[in-house]
């Protein structure tokens, strides 16, 4: 951690344009990279630093490979999804059966999709509501001198590193009707509380939320701890001298200063919740997820797209997912992150 942060913080005195989401600039030069003739002598004297015009071949050699791979396998598929979405297509040959917006109308009219959308909404909100306070509380607790502090920090991060497949299979086995969780409840004399955690439609979404919290809360704690360490101790000390209590200090000083970190975490959490696929697919699978009430837009897309052999339809679902994520991301950037992108992205917290 130390080395990376030091290096990142050595970047800190950023050029002004980076704080507005721009690209960190090399040495200051004129704006468009071309030098006016009068400057040429000066430029030559300054040596062959980065501000020099470079041959196209060299640039192509350096950027070309990355750009080609990126455009071919990231941008192109997304564009193709938008194109295929207007066709009824089984995925073989060239799509010919143009159906206009019929796929989109079918999707938006499909109760299954609306349910999945509703589940996504619940997951987005509940992830914030559950993980935020828990992670903040834990970060505050762990942000003090403790024995075994580094051990705790490592352990809290373990679920995040374990793959979704292992987490899904493990929890799936434990939460079966005759699994370990119900067994444990019985051993404790709480057999009345045992339940069908996975298949009961009233419980399943809460089971999912519990697993999501278990898996991802460590990530939030680590982010928050990093944010907390950027707050100077002097502020709390000064407040304590002025007679503020521990809780007053957390409420009035720590929490507001944690704002940028919390907002960035919330952004990542929202985007992740909208794309949720792996855990649901592994634990509930294609069929149970819709009856148990845990289907998401992504599981709907795979079930009704690829697994049904309707690639046009699946692409249309992907486009809808993308647009929903994009709109939410842009609104969030515009209204929530705008005032502190400078602080959050370029590391005002450190």
């Amino acid at each position: 951690m130390a080395t990376v942060s030091q290096h990142l913080s050595s970047v800190r005195p950023v050029p002004a344009d980076e704080s507005r989401g721009g690209i960190p600039a090399p040495a200051p030069d004129d704006a468009d990279g071309r030098r006016v003739p009068a400057d040429r002598a000066r430029a030559r004297r300054r040596g062959r630093a980065s501000g020099e015009r470079v041959p196209f071949g060299e640039l192509a050699l350096l950027i070309g490979p990355a750009l080609i791979v990126f455009v071919a396998f990231v941008i192109l598929p997304v564009v193709m999804a938008a194109y295929y979405g207007f066709f009824s297509w089984s995925g073989y040959g060239v799509p010919t059966e143009f159906v206009g917006v019929r796929n989109y109308l079918t999707i938006l009219g499909d109760p299954d999709f609306r349910e999945a959308l509703g589940h996504n909404a619940v997951i987005v909100v509940m992830s914030l509501v559950l993980q935020g306070p828990i992670a903040l509380g834990l970060a505050l607790l762990l942000n003090r001198k403790l024995r075994f502090q580094s051990v705790i920090r490592v352990l809290i991060f373990v679920p995040y590193v374990i793959s979704e497949v292992v987490v899904g299979l493990g929890w799936g086995l434990m939460l079966q009707t005759n699994g370990a969780v119900n067994g444990l409840l019985e051993n404790l004399g709480l057999g009345a509380l045992s339940a069908d955690w996975i298949s009961d439609p009233n419980l399943a979404i809460w089971t999912l939320m519990a697993i999501i919290t278990w898996k991802y809360v460590g990530f939030a704690v680590i982010l928050f701890l990093a944010g907390l360490q950027g707050i100077p101790d002097e502020l709390a000390e000064a407040a304590a001298i002025d007679g503020a209590s521990y809780w007053q200090i957390q409420r009035r000083i720590t929490l507001p200063l944690m704002g940028p970190t919390i907002r960035i975490w919330a952004f990542l959490s929202i985007i992740g919740s909208l794309q949720l696929f792996d855990l649901v697919w592994i634990i509930w699978g294609q069929y149970v997820s819709s009856t148990a009430g845990t289907s998401t837009m992504a599981t709907y897309m795979v079930a009704n797209g690829r697994n049904a052999g309707s690639y046009g339809y699946g692409s249309a679902v992907a486009v809808i997912m993308f647009l929903i994520s994009l709109v939410i991301a842009l609104l969030y950037q515009r209204f929530v992150l705008r005032r502190d992108t400078a602080g959050a992205i370029t590391g005002g917290a450190r």
Partner: protein, 288 residues
């Protein structure tokens, strides 16, 4: 709540560190560790039990360690084949994404040319395109290129999707290398590409390790892409193979637990070795 902390806070420089509250903190930390580790411990110890034990008392501990489940899994070629597949995919993804990312980030950070901002913005926008959205056409593209059922079909898209975060982390790193170094290198007769090779790469090692770890873990745990691309069990990576094993032997719970535990162990070892880098890299990725 305010009452017990306030009087001490006034006297102590570090507020809230009273003895009583410290005990509470340790207690909460203990509960936290139990909640985090219980499922992991259950997976590992469950693999040491027999199916009969698991049926009669699903939540118990093994009566006596029964290693046969683990030995069966370790003795079969299936597990090791998947470990090798996952390792090949992860290493290939990491090496190529670091190489391509460094080259592109070097140009973006230290050259001035028209379209520099646009290209950087394009890569940054890539952060907004998760693989979920592109997976259907991506599958068709990979299939049309004839890459299905080979690890290349997984590796190439993974490289593409790992590039944005790699470049976004590396560009500030490389931009921070002082111009004086480049000028000094130029005086000594080194061209830009020599400067890149001799000085930039060694100086960028910490950043490279961070992005490399992120790419490696993402590839090692990747599930959706292999699920779409790989149909031949011989080419399965570990996550896909673990799931296939669990549905194939769904009645043999103990063996499934053993297989799942074993498939978790490489990631845990990797994590414990690189823990500082991973945690630093993730906070850096968000803040840097």
């Amino acid at each position: 709540m305010t009452a017990f902390a306030a009087p001490r806070a006034r006297r102590r420089p570090a507020p809230g560190q009273s003895r009583g509250s410290t005990l509470i903190v340790y207690f909460i930390a203990l509960v936290l560790i139990a909640v985090i580790l219980a499922p992991v411990v259950y997976l590992i110890t469950g693999g040491l039990r027999t199916n009969a034990e698991l049926t009669t008392d699903p939540a118990g501990l093994p009566a006596s360690a029964n290693w046969s489940n683990y030995l069966d899994v370790l003795g079969s070629g299936v597990f090791w084949g998947q470990v090798v597949n996952s390792a090949i995919a992860a290493i290939a993804t990491t090496v190529v994404v670091v190489a391509l990312g460094l080259m592109a980030a070097f140009a973006l950070a230290r050259y001035r040319f028209r379209g520099r901002g646009a290209i950087y913005a394009l890569f940054t926008a890539g952060l907004m395109f998760p693989m979920t959205v592109a997976i259907t056409p991506l599958y068709i593209l990979v299939r049309d290129l004839g890459l299905t059922n080979g690890l290349a079909g997984v590796v190439v898209p993974q490289i593409a999707f790992a590039l944005p975060v790699t470049i976004v982390i590396l560009v500030p790193f490389l931009a921070a290398i002082p111009n004086e170094l480049q000028e000094a290198a130029a005086i000594d007769g080194a061209g830009r590409l020599q400067f890149f090779w001799r000085m930039v790469i060694p100086l960028a090692v910490p950043g490279v390790i961070t992005v490399g770890i992120l790419a490696f873990i993402a590839s090692w745990n990747s599930y959706m892409l292999p699920l779409f691309i790989l149909n031949d069990p011989a080419s399965f990576t570990l996550p896909l193979g673990t799931q296939a094993f669990s549905s194939q032997y769904s009645v043999d719970t103990a063996r499934v637990l053993a297989f799942t535990s074993l498939s978790m162990i490489p990631a845990l070892i990797f994590f414990s070795v690189f823990e500082r880098r991973i945690v630093g890299g993730l906070t850096g990725a968000v803040k840097g």
